[in-house]
Amino acid sequence: MKFQNWIQTHNNQITLLTAILIVLGYAGKFAGSLLTYNIVLALASIIAAIPIMLHAFQALRVKVISIELLVSIAVIGAFIIGEYNESAIVTFLFLFGSYLEERTLSKTRQSIKSLTEMAPTTATLVHDDDTTEEVDVDDVEEDDIVLVKTGAAIPVDGVIVDGHGYTDESAVTGESREITKQVDDDVFSGTMLSDGYLKVRATKVGDDTTFAKIIELVEDAQDTKSHAEKFIDRFAQYYTPAVLIIALLVFIFSRDFKLAITVLVLGCPGALVIGAPVSNVAGIGNGAKRGILIKGGDAMDTFAKVDTFVFDKTGTLTKGNTSVAKVNSYELPLEQAFALTAKIESLSDHPLGRAVVNYAEQKDYSYQALNITANQTIKGQGLSATIDGHAVLAGNHKLLATNGVHLSASQQEDLANLKTTGSSIVLVAVDSKLVLMLGIADIIRPEVAAELQQLREKGAKHLVMLTGDNQATADYVAKEVGIDEVHAELMPEQKVEFVKQFQQDGRIVAFVGDGINDSPSLATADIGIAMGSGTDVAIETSDVVLMQSSFHALVHAYGLAKKTVLNTKENIAIAIGVVAFLLIGLVAGFIYMASGMFVHEASILVVIFNAMRLINYGHEKAEPAAELRTAK
């Protein structure tokens, strides 16, 4: 047992020793001492074969015929017929190959590893008597209070009860920017407190935190196999024993011992087994780093095939909250007119009123100091008030008409134009003259039109919008961003029906929603994409989760899926090509054990390097621009 452990922890030293011995052996041969050559290489074979045989034996004990077993038999065979150089080089290449694979594989896994390393391990617990104690993060319970200082990771999901500061939530959302946090704000495990001091009451701890769920999801995703991978796995399971039998048959029929053991070495199913998974790992890692969670190889495959994107309007194409989208002002200076409007709307709890007040606050229009002397709410029409001696009316067209305010021809035209956008309209009159015409709507994300175009360039053929909103708004948004097909005034069940209809028409459908009330559609679509939401339901029902509410992430994810699937195909082609090359080489007689092992190990490294290109997908765009600048 001890010996076994020692061998397994000193693999690198054994590999190095073997390499040195092989060099010494060949030096001996050139010096003319064939005896030294044979003895040293035999010694190298024995040393390098020990760890391989140990693995072969352990696998055999649990009834698995492993690659190590094939190599072990081949090495023993070579040893018996006195081909010490072959056995030494084959074992060395096998060990050295494993070493290089470990190093390069860890690169493809780095993105996810760095994510898990951000997970906090300890927490500072605050007791009732205000003393603090450093504890393991697993020992924190719900409702415990923890202290977080500048530079530390927040250990739990919770609510701030004391203090304030800035957090960097890039681990959770992939979006690196500082967010101000104060009492009553939510904070998330895994985010860094870049500045400040917080006391947090834990609401979710350990494996229940959003961050822990993300990590678990990504870890599972890396190992959730695509159909192709499952096939290769099953194939490999029977392939290895089959190689053993084939080698035996070759020996029986050809009586060529050397040929038989060469078959054993060439039969190792290396690149084929590692090629497909390694592409997916690199691709999923690339996404995870950017707050894009793709749930495994299957999701990756299907996503790459998507030709129809169905968007739920609110929260995806639009920002998801109503605000002032259009301002037309007449007669009075804009700031004065808006201040009066904000003052009168501050009396109201109506969503339109709140949008107006928010807008005034954003623009820093000072309205608080104004003085209201009388006010009245007219049901179904709006508000009237006397502010600093002015008679102010804010409401719909009817309110103005009944109070004798008339619109000029050009104002009528503005009103008609605004109506086509589907916005809600607020008219404001001061002293019987129209001063403001406000369009209030759920604002379209500014980047959407350009990003949708990108989506088309990457292969999306049909873009559809489904919404519960009214037809006018839907038509307007669709026209602005460039959507092909619109269906408005829908209930959630009706959205599902549309998704099913598209699928029956033979389309591969991705449904993009904000993950709040569209779970049925997310689940029905071939690929459900939840945007800008780390809610449990969204994480569970969708196939792709975009942690940040950004369209660019959607385009990146789609491109990434296509690139990853292409990369997988390249790797499978490389692997099959190598097998074919080896077989031809064997028949033609230019491939033997050592050279076969070399090609085999090299092909594994080639597929890993090929997959590593995916790690930087999406980075290269910035570079040509930089080059252009320096060229000038």
Partner: protein, 75 residues
Amino acid sequence: MTKKAVLQLGALTCPSCMQKIENAVKNHNGVENVKVLFNAAKVKADFNDEETSAEDLADVVTKLGYTVEKIKVKA
């Protein structure tokens, strides 16, 4: 009672290791469900705590020649 053990192993490099670990843990008494995550190097197993323990499972994996870095048990 059925509990869930999560073993964090040192990095796994050959997909055939997975099969080895999976078979060995699956054949251990009291183990119901085993999943080996190749890339995350984790073994997730449901086991009956009257028949075996997470430490026993870690022992099985260690005997196969893999290092167990962390053991977690969930009820």
